[in-house]
């Protein structure tokens, strides 16, 4: 039997029980569309994360104390060992030992209660130097940045993130206002431009001079050189100099920390590229996880196809007998039933891709639980899903088809 005839025969059989065929097909549609939609959401997250990190500038290198694995360094912040000091940071600005370093911006993170009037808010803040804003691609929207004089004097001044400003002061211009952090009075000197992102978002933060964090908020002592820092932002001269800069940073810090050739680094250096790779890796796992969960529904759809095909073979035993009696070979019967199964899953695949695409398209930019969902539809995923749906038809259709083909024609003709 030729392909055209086979196709027409299969279509006719499916058409004779439209409701059943549609319901079976629906299982595949749901499976395929959820795979497409999930993958689009996952890839969207991946792409937007990468884009945000790249916005920070690819010349940025972050040095943290402790020899943690990159992942923990990224999510958990610095360790408890105070091995990076303010003078370590300054030592990296050295034209001889570190010619590829443009400038450094050490920081000291803290958290504490901010009070405006009677309202207390628990906030995360960063102690910074004047270079921090440039290192992190941040802009001042109102007022001014923290100056080097502020750092030297451990001034009680604060720059607010845009959302912090809004939650503490509403629509009022906060510049010049007085607020309390950990019970000490600070003067608001500026507000940051909103960044509209979820990664490294400074909108919810507040910035104070790095020395203020140490001496005023953490009640630290000692000379400024030995002041610990929680991380050092280093800007390489340009993108191509990042690798050289990393080597130079490592050399300088190992010398300063008097590490022997066999000692491991007591600090970790992360470039933006490292961060992107790590995040893409994690996000990749996330995408695969989403896809697999959606894939399970495709599997369930496939089992539905197999179930219906088995029922169909039993119901049509006599038809199989008739076809065999008038000259159909086993192969003809096998192909007829496989074609029916594949036709169903392929149609389900096409509709599923369309539905998944629509979900991803209209879901792009939607807000769910405060997070903006971004979706990226990839054509190859759509084709892959189509291919998989055909494979599902083949896989789950072949067993019922073999059952049909192996029926004894005499028995099949006697079947009522």
């Amino acid at each position: 039997m030729g392909f055209g005839l086979l196709f027409a025969t299969a279509l006719g059989s499916l058409g004779s029980n439209k409701l059943r065929a549609s319901l079976t097909l629906l299982g595949i549609v749901i499976g395929v569309s959820s795979v497409i939609a999930m993958m689009a959401v996952g890839r969207g997250a991946q792409v937007s994360v990468t884009a945000r990190i790249s916005e920070l500038g690819t010349e940025l290198i972050t040095v943290r104390p402790g020899a943690q694995a990159l992942r923990f360094a990224f999510f958990g912040g610095g360790g408890s060992s105070d091995v990076l000091s303010f003078s370590d940071a300054l030592a990296l600005e050295d034209d001889v030992f570190a010619p590829d370093v443009r400038f450094v911006a050490p920081e000291n993170s803290f958290s504490g209660t901010a009070t405006v009037g009677r309202e207390n808010t628990f906030l995360n803040g960063v102690g910074i130097t004047a270079e921090y804003l440039e290192a992190r691609n941040l802009e001042i929207a109102l007022g001014r940045n923290i100056s080097n004089a502020d750092v030297l004097n451990s001034s009680l001044v604060v720059v607010l993130g845009s959302e912090t400003s809004e939650s503490l002061f509403g629509q009022r211009d906060p510049v010049g206002a007085i607020m309390k952090i950990q019970g000490r009075e600070f003067t608001v000197i500026g507000v940051l431009e909103s960044q509209q992102g979820t990664i490294f978002n400074p909108d919810n933060s507040l910035l104070v001079p790095i020395t203020t964090t140490h001496y005023r908020l953490n009640n630290g002592g000692g000379p400024i050189e030995s002041m610990p820092v929680s991380s050092i932002n280093v800007l390489a001269r340009d993108e191509k100099a990042v690798d050289d800069a990393r080597t130079e940073i490592s050399t300088v810090l190992r010398l300063r920390h008097k590490l022997g050739p066999d000692d491991e680094d007591d600090f970790s250096i992360t470039t933006q590229q490292d961060t992107i790779e790590t995040l893409e890796g994690t996000q990749g796992t996330f995408v695969i996880l989403l896809g697999s969960i959606a894939g399970i529904s495709l599997l369930v759809g496939g089992i539905g196809v197999m179930n219906i095909m088995l029922v169909s073979v039993t119901e049509r035993t006599r038809e199989i007998g008739i076809r065999r009696a008038v000259g159909a070979k086993r192969r003809d019967i096998l192909l007829q039933f496989v074609t029916e199964a594949v036709l169903m899953t392929f149609a389900g695949g096409v509709l599923g891709v369309a539905a998944g695409w629509a979900i991803a398209y209209f879901g792009d930019g939607a807000t769910i639980a405060g997070d903006v969902i971004e979706t990226v539809i990839e054509t190859n995923i759509a084709f892959l899903a189509l291919g998989v749906s055909v494979a599902v038809g083949l896989f789950f259709g072949i067993y019922p088809a073999i059952r049909a083909a192996s029926l004894d024609p005499i028995e099949a003709l006697r079947h009522e």
């Binding site: 059989s13 006599r318 007998g321 009696a325 008038v326 000259g327 159909a328 086993r330 192969r331």
Partner: protein
């Protein structure tokens, strides 16, 4: 449709069974449905196979129809040994060298009369859609259903359905038609119509026709009656219709 060709000696017999047995395993017992059958049917014959239920006539029909293979013995169809053929080769023969007519018509209920008649051509291959439909129309015309092409089986009477079944058996232009109780589900009027159709195919088109039947009247409408009992042929004689015409003498086999 071919014009009647009288059987001549140079043509091999349509059916030549020699010492054919067919055994079935039923539980631990071996049942011998056919017990050393030898039977030869020439071109242009119209033969009735009769006998009580379980006498082996259906098994014989399945064997001749290439749906079943003998346990031992040889079976030549149109001079070709069929006993050792593969499943695919048997399917090939079914689609080209013989046509079945069933008691319960066995039409595909969803398909039109025309599509039902086309079915064997779809499997025998070599026919484009247009030629296939044209051939199927001619077969339906031959059985007097030229006005019923697009009717589904439920829209046809029993007699009409059986004539669609006959058209399906005819459509591949085979020489041999095997009919298993073709009138078993029909009233007297329809039965006689169907039998007249089969007789005319035998007389006018020279088709070789083998009919399995319980009904002595149906058997009497053929030219030769072969009677089965317990897997053996107990009688093989010309029918009264032939005897009255005085064409052939009686040959009666007596089994002790």
């Amino acid at each position: 449709m071919t014009i009647s060709t009288p059987a001549d000696d140079s043509m091999p017999p349509v059916i030549e069974l020699t010492n054919v047995t067919r055994e079935f395993q039923v539980g631990s017992q071996v049942v011998r449905a056919l017990d050393g059958i030898s039977l030869t049917i020439q071109h242009g014959e119209m033969v009735a196979i009769t006998g009580p239920s379980g006498s082996g006539k259906s098994t014989l029909m399945n064997t001749i129809g290439c749906l079943d293979t003998p346990t031992s013995g040889s079976f030549f169809l149109n001079g070709n040994d069929v006993s050792g053929l593969s499943d695919d080769q048997l399917a090939e023969i079914r689609s080209r060298q013989l046509g079945f007519v069933f008691q319960s018509y066995n039409l595909l209920p969803r398909e039109t009369a025309l599509a039902n008649v086309e079915l064997p051509l779809k499997y025998s291959g070599g026919f484009g859609g247009r030629r296939r439909r044209e051939t199927a129309r001619r077969a339906l015309d031959r059985v007097g259903l030229g006005h019923r092409y697009d009717h589904k089986p439920v829209q046809l009477s029993g007699g009409e359905q059986q004539r669609v079944g006959i058209a399906r058996a005819l459509v591949t232009n085979t020489d041999l038609i095997l009919a298993d109780e073709p009138t078993g589900n029909l009233d007297t009027k329809s039965s006689s119509e169907v039998m007249k159709m089969l007789q005319s195919l035998n007389d006018e088109d020279g088709k070789t026709i083998v009919i399995v039947t319980h009904d002595p009247e149906i058997a009497g409408a053929t030219k030769r009656i072969v009677t089965f009992r317990d897997g053996r042929i107990i009688e093989d004689r010309p029918s009264d219709r032939i005897l009255q015409r005085g064409q052939t003498g009686s040959q009666k086999l007596e089994i002790e």
